[in-house]
């Protein structure tokens, strides 16, 4: 494996993590949006708030990480993608701004008179980012992003059936992941009604995601032949892994299984993202720019790999600590009344 391929793998790890964790966050925003009025809707929204709080920030750092690795390791591809796809990426950024602001402020917004409207806006913003990120992926996979500064068509590059379908697939995948996660969170919060509520939604969104994925394969066949050929040859094992995991999730959800559902759901998504990567290998921008042709000089690649190794050593244990503390409810609890000056240990 060349160092360019290694950096491409690092890039894919970042993109995968963002797809899973960022996706779950946007999906949670989606469920907040469609929860509706009334008591059950309110409780569903509260569960979403409670579950996301401690891990929100870290989830979104993956995006920055991915962008930075892309522009450092493969500057030419970054330039091509961000100039040709100016419109969908601007709209994705818009979603990130509004979603982030919603996250930062909604604790207070919850009390405000206009909270319904505010929540709607935050929820809608959760649709924007995954959808337009999906159209970006569709544009890249179908070879509509040529090398250069805005060399591709500013509109048809992403506004085409394949890109729109992948956009919809991204929204569905986010909702699916979020629903699966929220089933576990509801259980952790001892909210059995919400456990059933999100189980039903997880099953429904899993089916929608599966249907869109199958439609996507037909669209790839028609419009992105190189990636389609890759998916049905080199990447076929990963496609099968994804199908099996997705199917297993459905069965486990039906039976109310407690273990393994989240891992399998994540595995299904991870397998698809890597299937895409394997399918378009050795291209960054099929079929215009290969990984080796688009790669930075070797010193930069080496430095990036060292940084990535440092990230594994430093960030992985920290993030594990965060997730463990969150799962044990050691950091998710209300800070309680401040009149009690000294923080106490309860657990």
């Amino acid at each position: 494996m060349s160092s360019a391929d290694a950096v491409a793998a690092v890039l894919w790890v970042g993109a995968t993590a963002y797809a899973v964790f960022g996706g779950a966050d946007f999906g949670a925003g989606f469920w907040s949006l469609v929860a509706g009025r009334g008591e059950r809707g309110r409780r569903a929204r509260e569960l979403v708030d409670w579950a996301i709080g401690p891990v929100w920030e870290a989830n979104h750092v993956w995006l920055i990480f991915t962008l930075v690795v892309l522009w450092t390791g493969f500057s030419t591809a970054f330039e091509a993608v961000f100039s040709t796809l100016f419109i969908p990426l601007s709209l994705a950024a818009l979603g990130i701004i509004v979603r982030g602001a919603g996250f930062a402020f909604h604790g207070t917004a919850r009390r405000a008179a206009a909270r319904e409207g505010a929540e709607r806006i935050f929820g809608l913003s959760s649709l924007l980012t995954p959808f337009f990120m999906g159209t970006v992926v569709g544009a890249i996979a179908s070879g509509r992003v040529p090398v250069g500064n805005a060399a591709g068509d500013p509109v048809t590059s992403w506004f085409n059936p394949l890109s729109l379908l992948i956009g919809a697939l991204f929204v569905a995948t986010s909702a699916y992941l979020a629903a699966v996660f929220l089933v576990s969170d509801a259980r952790r919060a001892d909210a059995h009604d919400l456990e059933r509520y999100f189980t039903r939604r997880a099953i429904a969104s899993a089916i929608v995601t599966g249907v869109l994925a199958v439609a996507g394969i037909f669209a790839l066949h028609a419009d992105a032949r190189f990636v389609y050929d890759g998916l049905t040859s080199d990447a076929l094992p990963l496609v099968i892994v994804s199908l099996v995991c997705g199917g297993a999730v459905l069965v486990l959800l039906e039976h109310g299984a407690r273990r393994g559902v989240r891992l399998l759901a994540m595995a299904a998504v991870v397998a698809v993202v890597w299937a895409w990567g394997v399918a378009q290998h050795p291209y960054l921008l099929p079929t215009d720019l290969t990984i080796s042709a688009g790669a930075a000089p070797s010193a930069t690649l080496t430095a990036l790999l060292i940084v990535a190794a440092a990230a594994v050593v430093l960030v992985a244990p920290s993030i594990a600590l965060l997730f463990v503390l969150a799962q044990r409810s050691l950091i998710a609890e209300s800070a309680g009344p401040e009149a009690r000056p000294k923080p106490r240990q309860i657990a």
Partner: protein, 476 residues
Amino acid sequence: MKGRARPSRSIGAPVLNSLPLAAELEAARSQMAFTLAFHIILASLGVALPAMVLIANYRGLRRDDADALLLARRWSKVMAVTFAVGAVTGTVLSFEFGLLWPEFTGRFGKVFGVLFAIEGIFFFLEAIFVAIYIFGWERLRPWAHFWAGVPIVFTGLGGAFSVVAVNSWMNQPQGFSPTSGDVTSVAPWKVIFNPAVPYEVPHMILAAYLVTGFLVASIYAVGMLRGRRDRYHRLGLLIPLTVATIATPIQFMVGDTAARAIAADQPVKFAAMECVQQTSTDVTEYLGGRCTTDGIKGGIGIPGLDSFLVGFSTSTQVTGLDSVPADDRPPDNTMLHWAFDAMVGICSALILLGLWFWFAWWRRREIPQTRWFLRATAISGVAAVVALECGWIVTEVGRQPWIVYNVMRTEDAVTQASGVWVTFGLVLALYAVLGTALVLVLRAMSHRWRAADDSDAGAPYGPAAPPPPVLAEGGQ
């Protein structure tokens, strides 16, 4: 356009493209300037506020000081909200590297990008430990909780280093070849430790501590002016003001060194800062005035001082703007000059405020209680922010017309996509809402605290709500 092949579209119609391109360039520069100016305030808080929180936290635990602990707890909530908003505005900036300046990043991303990758690690760790610290007040053991906050201080410093080093590199580019066309070789160490790092990085880190210190202190000064002179308010003023007044004189010296280094490294930028039109010795230092090609109009002149400041002798030669063609000079010369003067002037005034504070402390072991001292402290926060913005105007506008000094012009870096005016308008509107919401939320938190309602509903760092069933049952 130098170096890289442009897409055929623009080769075919260079004349048609040149007019809208100039307009897009203005839009891109405006959007970048605006989003950066907004982000830098939050970034400064992100770098320095954790230190204030931990000082208060340490004092609270060490001396069993309930007021200090309460301050730490409340500041950490402010930190949480500014950190979350700062993460958003920072993400926007990373999008803008591609959306606004694709040719800059396309050509040099492979050169400066490693610094952002390093920053990514720091930011990641910062996000993780901020979350643990914010959410850990109640259930972590007190000292374990304190130590969970300590990494935030260091990751803030590391992150500031990485990002500011990129800006330093844009001012003093090195460590890559060839200098025209596609970069084929990179020397990462020379990029990371470029010649502008030793003065630009400390200058920004000190600025962060100074701005944060005066901002926090100013809030408690306002409270004391309104009659809330209890120990809680005095401590809330004392901790940040101590940090800020230590940072200010050091900042003045670092800034002075930076100005001299810029006179040597980027003489045209320095000439624009000081309105020096012709290269000569015995150059007069002007405070204020209007810069014209015929020399400065108005302003207060001190003969020979500019030369003296550059080389400790009035016979030092100072390079003038006439040393380069008009095309290579920074625009908006008067604004640049005023921004520089304002920054230095504000820093000087803040040093005086610090002397006042330390003298009183030395005499009476107490914050000066006069209204004039509190008024001065109350405006010091805004003044420090103005100085911060002025500093960035000096370094960014002063680098123009170059995006990479003497290597790549800003006009060659901008996107060929149309629609930047639309996104700029959108960004202006969104950030206006974001800024207003931020201020309103912080005010609402402060009002709640004053009403001694310390419930965490509406806590800054997103929701800190208990699990829904508890809410559903009790609701209080």
